[in-house]
């Protein structure tokens, strides 16, 4: 953890951490199934292929936000 944000983590109780890749993928899968009816892997593949270009709604925004945590 960065020295400065370690101080902030101590003061706020909110740490800054590396995203857990396995957990992010699990979260993405739950979200994609709930909001789009497809698996997280299917969403990731379609998103990276540009299938959602031009789209903008709240559910898609949250899925993209989660997907952006994947390296």
């Amino acid at each position: 953890m960065l020295a400065l944000d370690a101080v902030a983590a101590e003061a706020t109780g909110v740490p800054v951490e590396d995203a857990d890749q396995e957990n992010v993928m699990a979260v993405l899968d739950v979200q994609a199934r709930k909001w789009l009816g497809i698996s997280g892997a299917e969403f990731l593949s379609a998103w990276r292929a540009g299938d959602y270009n031009g789209g903008d709604d709240a559910k898609l925004g949250r899925l993209v936000s989660t997907a952006l945590l994947l390296s």
Partner: protein, 198 residues
Amino acid sequence: MAGRTPADAVAAFMHPIQEAASVLGPCKVTGAGEFRSPRVGHEYSWSLNDGAGIKGRNAHGVTGVRDFYASMSWRVVPDDRDGYGPFRVTTTRYDYSLILDDGEVWAFHWHPEGRSDVVYPHVHFGSPVLASTSPITSKAHPPTGRMTLEQTIRWVLESGGTSPFHDWPERLALAEAPHLLYRSWTQNRPREASPSGD
């Protein structure tokens, strides 16, 4: 926020985010890639709790779940203006939303460099707040001006959310102040400022 090094700029950027998020209770800010030792100009992202958001219950005895999601993308850029650098973080995207049971209450978006044609800050409202006679639909993109994380957390709390801190208004005001002082745009980012402008 300014820093002597890119890493210092990231720490200065994250601190108010940690302060603001703490108002909603225990959580973590999770980032992707080598954001602790950032490459200048490279885009990074953070979300709350690995993208899962903060889970909550409605206040005032109202049953149901209410989940708050927050995410930003950002870059470290050089800035030789006095007090702004030599390095600082500029945000390139934000996405904040509140869900009540399975429906969006609201979602604040700004994604000028994304895949959508809607490049100005805007809001989506969902069925829990849209009457059948509403002139706005969930597909509309009403412009909002730049929304801060702190302002959306105020929306969460005004929407029946709770905070473990009685002084949450002051905490949010303090967290928000540096951003309000140093930001260079309020309604919509000037085209000529992209991508290094804030």
